[in-house]
């Protein structure tokens, strides 16, 4: 049986790993290569590494860093940050990365995903959408954002995800800006809406503070990807840095119970 994927998501900022809160106040949590080594030992399902500087600084992906990460990583690796062309995506795949994610470049030009799918295969093309609740007194529903939440787009995230899927995305990652780093649980309503909207594999990021939150997400959505930053780099309410990940047994028990709950619902 296909299992849900439980995925640590690491953010690279100024060469180090950081964890943000609501896309701001980055806190240094360690060295990227060292973190990959620890997740190797813990045998995590996948790993996602996002360079949060590249797009904002309008620079190319840091190929030297990607090569080092890929050489070290013994689980499937998804890299994102600064990718704007299919050629860049090909180069990253050749370095030993399984999946390449794009966000703002795909929002600006969804056809980029078609060109990437042509070059590296749809299974390796990931679209990350940063989503937040609409603000204001009469705000209802969600809106899309890019450039570390600095730019808003007046499009419905679910409809836009469908468009990206049609263009060539093999996976959609939904990153909740409001929940980022809060550790109070995933936005289940958003996750359910997106699950109903897309046919490709879906991964939800933003909000997990405990394995119970992961259970809650899987119970609501079934077999999907549950990604988290804070959960896997912090320990306790004071956010002491401690890289952690559930054991195979913990994960199996958690998934089995959550999927049973999902099937009943």
């Amino acid at each position: 049986m296909l299992r849900p994927r439980i995925i640590p998501c690491l953010l690279v900022h100024k060469g180090g790993l950081v964890k943000t809160q609501r896309f701001g106040s980055p806190k240094y949590v360690g060295d990227p290569i060292n973190a990959v080594k620890i997740f190797n030992e813990k045998e995590s399902d996948e790993l996602m590494v996002l360079d949060i500087d590249a797009t904002v600084n309008k620079v190319e992906p840091n190929y030297a860093l990607i090569a080092k990460l890929a050489a070290e990583c013994r689980m499937p690796l998804c890299y994102g940050g600064g990718v704007t062309t299919a050629e860049q995506a090909s180069r990253i795949i050749d370095l030993g990365v399984e999946k390449v994610s794009v966000s703002s470049a795909a929002v600006a030009d969804p056809a980029l995903l078609s060109r990437m799918a042509e070059a590296i295969g749809r299974q390796s093309v990931v679209a990350v959408l940063d989503v937040r609740k609409k603000g204001g007194l009469f705000g209802k529903g969600y809106e899309l954002s890019t450039h570390n939440s600095k730019t808003s787009h007046k499009v419905d995230p679910a409809a836009f995800a469908q468009q990206l899927q049609a263009a060539g995305a093999g996976e959609i990652v939904i990153n909740s800006i409001d929940r980022d780093g809060e550790m109070k649980g995933y936005d289940i309503e958003l996750a359910k809406q997106m699950r109903a909207a897309v046919k490709v594999p879906l991964t939800i990021l933003g909000g997990a503070g405990s394995l119970d939150h992961v259970s809650e997400l899987l119970g609501a959505c079934g077999v999907i990807g549950a990604a988290a930053g804070s959960l896997f780099v912090f320990k306790g309410q004071y956010r002491a840095v401690l890289i952690n990940y559930p054991t195979h047994k913990q994960k199996d028990d958690l998934c089995r119970a959550a999927l049973r709950a999902h099937d009943k619902a």
Binding site: M1, L2, R3, P4, R5, E43, D45, E46, A67, A70, A71, E72, R74, M75, P76, I93, L95, G96, V97, E98, K99, E118, A119, I120, G121, R122, Q123, S124, G170, E171, K199, V200, P201, L202, V223, G225
Partner: protein, 204 residues
């Protein structure tokens, strides 16, 4: 000495890293001459079937590979699209495959039980292995592997199937026919489960 066939497609580096960690001597081969001396061959592959076949056909390595695999019986393992290339052809493309193992590559979604599932098939899945295969020596119970694909190798002779996985329907995920092996999942990215399989392949 293991040679990883580097015809321009696939995650060569991931295999190099994995073999190095296992203490197994492996290098990449970019030409027919570099294939020589190989006691084992790894044929990787990702992306579209036609793209991979085109590049292999243009690499100048195919005649030597066929001689080594089909005549000299050097053990070979095709991985992901590298496994699919062992077939006669693929529903994903138009170019003929290597036709080393009888079978054809089909879309997972072409099966009525799988057509409504998310595609690609992405993530960790259990595999059901045929007992007694050397490739699975010292496997622990409930082996699981990482998958990332939308097409699969459908073996013509089910005697060749050494493992299946279930995604809507049971599909062939590992084939072994004499010295020729193919795995759809990614042993190079499947932690200790994959390491064991590659270790077994190295001493077949």
């Amino acid at each position: 000495m293991i040679r990883i066939v580097d015809y321009g497609v696939g995650n060569i580096q991931a295999f190099m890293t994995m073999f190095k960690r296992l203490g197994i001597d492996a290098t990449r081969a970019r030409s027919a001459d570099e294939l020589e001396g190989a006691t084992r061959l790894v044929l990787p592959g990702v992306g579209a079937f036609d793209h991979a076949m085109n590049l292999l056909n243009q690499s100048g390595m195919r005649p030597r590979l066929e001689e080594m695999v089909l005549e000299r019986q050097v053990p070979v393992i095709g991985i992901c699209v590298g496994m699919q290339m062992l077939a006669s052809g693929s529903d994903e493309g138009e170019i003929a495959g290597l036709n080393w193992v009888p079978g054809r590559v089909k879309a997972l979604a072409s099966h009525p039980l799988s057509k409504d599932l998310p595609m690609p098939h992405m993530g960790w899945n259990d595999i059901r292995i045929k007992p007694g295969q050397k490739l699975f020596a010292d496997f622990e119970p409930d082996p699981r592997f990482y998958f990332l694909h939308s097409y699969y190798f459908d073996a013509l002779d089910k005697q060749d199937v050494s493992a299946t996985a279930e995604y809507g329907h049971d599909f062939d995920c590992i084939v072994s026919r004499g010295n020729i092996h193919g795995v759809q999942c990614h042993p190079e990215k499947s932690h200790h489960f994959g390491a064991q399989l590659l270790k077994n392949f190295a001493v077949l």
